[in-house]
């Protein structure tokens, strides 16, 4: 049953606002800009749109579907969401493809936007409302803000596997910094040597500033259409070959302390395996991967958990950065990712994957890219997309 969505839908348009810390307009205006740019790119207008899909935890209040529809003049439309945060940004496209497969929509727009670059503290204060467990049992002790969650993982990881985490973190951060500078569209504009990495201050030991994602104001959108409509449109279609959302019985509240398998992301592998199975492809078939890199530690775990190397071996796998570079075995975060391009929680991981498969990624193009993975997470949730250049 998992093959029914393969090639049912294709991406035909993408739009992004400039990657900046502080934008000159409000979030809702940024989202509308990204949607309009994606529709222009697709050669379509709002009148063609009959579906809206988004992440389902932040977007309902940040920019609701009905306000998009009311502003752009989208009349009768399918509305779908998938939770949470990064994982939902990926799996919203699963919902969109399902709507297309069921005949509920033909032209679906996905969007995501965030203004955490200009909202002081928003990225971490949004993790806990008053009286939530995070505020009541974690914040008093300074375990508040995502760097602390991942700094704690990193210390146990190092203790368990006895590896040179500084070298591994530095290699990942530098690889993505170089990709970001080559992309020409990144928020980050300063190069970094390993020496400079080591001199950068700690945020939450052992994580330093370059181990942590940027903060960004921006939005991105993509247009997903029924595949037979894609062929008449101006841009080369990029096919949605596999999509999945894997979860486990933990919540966003208690995942970071109670995850029984503390040094792995338990949902990463099942999500990626399911998406690859839907695509009828293997891990080795992937030409690149755009993975959720809120911290270097997060990325290091996924490299193991998705299966490019065994547990405890990712530090050696990325030691000199060559395997994950643009010309490496598995190029990762070709545009610079959350660490060095922009922090849209993975929305630009989706648009970058589409750009790569169109062969339109400029100086960060992976040679002959035919199949790519987008893997985005939030707490216990993991959303995976497998995208392909060719039908079939």
């Amino acid at each position: 049953m998992t093959t029914q969505l393969r090639d049912v839908a294709a991406f035909v348009g993408i739009g992004e606002t400039p990657a900046v810390r502080k934008a000159d307009k409000p979030l809702k205006a940024l989202v509308l800009d990204a949607i309009t740019a994606a529709l222009d790119d697709a050669g379509l207008t709002p009148a063609d749109v009959d579906g809206l899909v988004t992440e389902g935890a932040l977007m309902p209040s940040a920019m609701p579907h009905d306000e998009v529809a009311a502003t752009l003049g989208i009349s009768q439309y399918f509305s779908g969401m998938s939770s949470y945060w990064g994982s939902g940004i990926a799996s919203a496209h699963l919902v969109g493809a399902q709507a297309i497969a069921c005949g509920q929509a033909d032209v679906v727009v996905s969007y995501f936007g965030v203004d955490w670059g200009s909202t002081a503290g928003a990225a971490y204060t949004s993790i806990g409302e008053e009286n939530s467990p995070k505020v009541v049992y974690e914040k008093p002790f300074g375990y508040f803000g995502q760097p602390y969650f991942f700094g704690a993982i990193a210390n146990r990881y190092r203790s368990t596997y006895g590896v040179d985490l500084e070298r591994a973190f530095g290699s990942l951060a530098i690889n993505q910094r170089e990709n970001a500078l080559r992309s020409g569209t990144a928020q980050m504009d300063r190069s970094m040597t390993y020496g400079q990495y080591l001199e950068s201050p700690y945020v939450a030991e052992p994580l330093r500033i370059p181990d942590c994602c940027l903060l960004t104001d921006g939005a991105a959108a993509a247009v997903l259409v029924r595949s037979d409509r894609a062929k008449d449109l101006p841009k080369p279609p990029v096919y949605l070959k596999g999509a999945s959302l894997a979860t486990m019985p933990l919540s966003m509240d208690n995942y970071f302390t109670q995850n029984p398998d503390y040094l792995t992301w338990p949902t990463a592998r099942p999500a990626v395996e399911q998406a690859l199975a839907m695509a009828g492809r293997e891990l080795d078939d992937l030409d690149f991967a755009e993975l959720y890199d809120c911290f270097t530690m997060t990325l290091l775990m996924q490299i193991e958990d998705i299966g490019w190397c065994s547990k405890g071996e990712a530090a050696a796998f990325v030691e000199d950065g060559k395997r994950v570079a643009l010309d490496g075995d598995i190029p990762i975060n070709t545009h610079g990712g959350l660490l060095s391009h922009s922090y849209l929680l993975g929305a630009t991981h989706v648009t970058e994957a589409i750009r790569q498969l169109r062969g339109d990624a400029g100086d960060v193009q992976v040679a002959d890219a035919e199949l790519g993975l987008v893997g985005l997470l939030a707490g216990p949730h993991y959303g995976a997309l497998v995208l392909g250049r060719d039908e079939g």
Partner: protein
């Protein structure tokens, strides 16, 4: 071993971030601390602990659980060190050890706490609870290396 600051000095640090939990599902933990006990939710049907408190035991789905005192001896599961305050409440707490602990007598759950008076932290290091009084009469559970270790 480095000397721990006095409990009163430590307690003062928590004043800006102590939650007002009266009447909420969270109240038992902080009420226990005020009375000098570390209390966690334990199911009265299956006997297992869970954390954080839920409306039903996540192991057997029983709605019956009670705040149950534990001895407060624990091992360091992992830790980080507060270096760059991401919130103004932590500006005066740079250098504090932020730990995740496994309690000796509440298997299957981990709690977050600060550890004071420890050098050369390592996974598995034994620690025990102490209660730091705050100026307004409350108390905060903190952990220090187990005496004699």
């Amino acid at each position: 071993m480095s000397t721990s600051p006095a409990l009163e000095e430590i307690g003062q640090r928590y004043v800006p971030v102590l939650p007002d939990v009266e009447g909420t599902l969270a109240a038992g933990f902080w009420e226990g601390a005020d009375e000098g006990e570390l209390r966690l939710p334990r199911c009265t049907d299956c006997g297992r602990f869970h954390w954080y408190p839920l409306h039903r035991c996540p192991h057997c789905q029983s709605p019956r659980w009670e705040w149950t005192a534990v001895a407060g001896r624990a091992r360091i599961f992992t830790w980080t060190v507060l270096r760059r305050p991401l919130h103004k409440a932590f500006q005066d707490r740079v250098g504090e050890i932020v730990a995740i602990l496994e309690l000796d007598d509440a298997s299957g759950v981990r709690i977050v706490a600060n550890v004071f008076g420890a050098d050369d932290l390592e996974v598995g290091m034994p620690v025990e609870v102490a209660f730091a009084p705050t100026p307004d009469g409350r108390a905060v559970p903190i952990f220090v290396p187990t005496s004699g270790s």
